[in-house]
Structures are given as C-alpha cells and as structure tokens.
C-alpha cells in the first residue's frame, strides 16, 4: 500500500546557500532559516513540483545517490522535514 504523498515548495520560495557541505536554507513562506545536512536538501529537490511517498522518493534519489536505509530512512527524514515545515502532505 502506498504511503502518504509529500511535496516540497517550489524553487522560487526557498533561498539556499552551500556552506561547507551543509546548506543554509531560507524558507520564504515562513521566514525561517534552516541549516540542513544531506540528504535533506536532496530530498527537497526531489520533491519539488511532484509529490512522492517514501518508496517513490527512495527510488528517485537512488537514481543519483547511494541511499542507506531505503524507505524507512526516507520516512524518518520526511517526518523531520514535515515538522520543520519544509515539506507537506500533497
């Protein structure tokens, strides 16, 4: 059974700057700044425009990256990003 679908805000609603392997991200709708470690910025990029559940997200990311932990890892990261207001249920 498919899990909940998550989507991230489009590119024009975030400002991101690379800082030594971390990413400083300004989220325009909330006015909040976040410091993100991988794979969070990659997850946000993969969820822009088209939502996905954890399994689909793991598949999308695995096209470009080696994913450890698979779907369970994605579920945990999605919960964190949802709590931070950076992804929402589609």
């Amino acid at each position: 059974m498919a899990g909940p679908l998550y989507i991230a805000d489009p590119e024009e609603l975030v400002r991101a700057v690379e800082l030594d392997g971390l990413t400083a991200l300004f989220h325009v709708p909330s006015g909040m700044t976040h410091i993100l470690a991988p794979p969070a910025p990659q997850i946000l990029a993969a969820l822009r425009g088209e939502g996905a559940d954890a399994a689909e997200l793991a598949r999308r990311l695995s096209e470009s990256f080696e994913i450890e932990g698979g779907e369970a890892e994605m579920e945990a990261r999605l919960a964190e990003l949802e709590a931070a207001g950076l992804v929402r249920r589609a």
């Binding site: 400002r15 700057v17 800082l19 030594d20 400083a24 300004f26 325009v28 006015g31 410091i35």
Partner: protein
Amino acid sequence: MRHEFAVQVGPVGFRVGSEWRAPVASLQRLYEGYPPPEGGVADFSVRLEAERPWRRWMKPSVAIRGDYVLPDAAPLALAHGLLAAEMGMNLQMALGQKRYLLLHASAAERDGKCVLMTGASGSGKSTLAAMLGEHGWRFMGDEFALLDPETWLLHPFPRAISLKNRGIHAMEELVGPDRFGPWLKGTPKGTLRHLRPRQDAIARMGEPARPALILFPTYGADTAVRPVGAAEVFVRLTQASTNYVTLGERGFGALSHLVTEVPARAIDYPDGKAAMEAVEALWAELS
C-alpha cells in the same frame, strides 16, 4: 523633558531626554565633537525617567523609556545614569533598526576594508577594537556593526567605547584622561568606563567599509588560531544579530554573502599585545 542631548552616531540619530541634569551632562562631555542628528531629526528617542514620580528626589532611580521598551528592564541608580542612557540607545537600535543587519560585533577599518569581531561578553572584542583604533586602524564600533543588505558594506557605529575591568586599564595606558568618561562602579555589568574614540573615527562615521576578515576572539588562553567553517560562522552570526529574523530574506541574503565571501578565524589570546599581533598577521595573510 527637562534636559536633552542629541547626537549622530554613524547613520543613526539619537535624542536622549532626562529628568535629571547629570546623565545629560555626562553624555555631552563624553560625546564632545560628535555631530548633531542629520537634518535635526533623531531616528530614535531615549527617555530617562523617574521610576516613580517621587523618586526623582528620594533615592533617585532611572527607568529607561523610548520608542521601543522592554517591560521588565530593571531601573538603575541615578549614579549610573550614563549607563542607562547608553543601554537605552542600544535598546532602540536592537529593537528598532530595520535598514541594516545589526550584528553584535566590534569593527575596525584599514584601506577601505574592515575586520569584524564578535564574541560573548568578556571576549575582549571592545578592547581589541579600541586598541586597533589607537594603532593605525579606524575604530568603527565596539557594540554594533551595521551590514547593508543592498551593498554588503559595513557601516560604522562609533559610539563611545564601553570598557570593562581589565579593558579600562589596558586603554588607560594608551589614551589620556580627557577622552574617558566617569568611573561607573557597581553597575549590573560590573565596573565600567567609557572612552571617546579618536577624532578620525568620529569625523569618518559616515564612511562604510568592505568586510574582509571575521574574527571570534576569546581572551584568556595562549595564542591560537583556528579556522571556522562557513556553516558555524553563519549560525554564530545569526545568534549575534538582534534583527536577523525581522529582516527576513534581506537578512539571509546579507549574512549568506558575508559568510561565503569573507574568511573567518577563531583566535585565543593571553593579552592585548598578542591579540594585536594575531590580528595583524591574519590581516596580512587573508584580507
């Protein structure tokens, strides 16, 4: 108000009103040579009022009021009225400044470029900027540095330098008594004495500078220099800013430009001389 004092400090004009003469007289002496607010209009007002009407005469106690007020700001003894005025000016800046990203930092300029120094109270950032200001640098400020989000230039805020404890003695060895304010003993911040910056810092208070070096000084250990990663610099500077959240995207743009373009180092130092040498060496290497 019965007694008033108005002054321009960098890009900001202040008017201080007081129910007592003494704090205004101290400000007039300390800020001798500073211009009045540009166009005669102050950006911020500070009022030093009696905490209760009868306390203007009986055991006077100064409450700080102004355009922006902290409801729980503790009143100060009248003997510390100068500190109350300075805290009031700081408070108006911290709560009301919207044009610049306000960094709780000291700064000094040379050849159009500046070093920015930030750290906790007791790190020695005020004394270090004051010492640089007596050794070929232009003192830009000891409390607030104002980063312009449009130009990324740092604007000076060269108010009177607030020296504490050992910093007072270090500067007394370099500067004659005519530039010092009165001793303020037993204040909530310990023993304080203010120092008027050199005339060049006052005359050039309208000249910004390009940030070229960020330092996080720590007093008390043998000299050591460590690089600081851009992400850590970013986080530490958001913590050192009183209006980062208020400025929103402009603040993010200014700060992210600063941390990606300007090298940063943490320096430990055992005394002022060692700190000056460390700053000069890093300046020669990195700026």
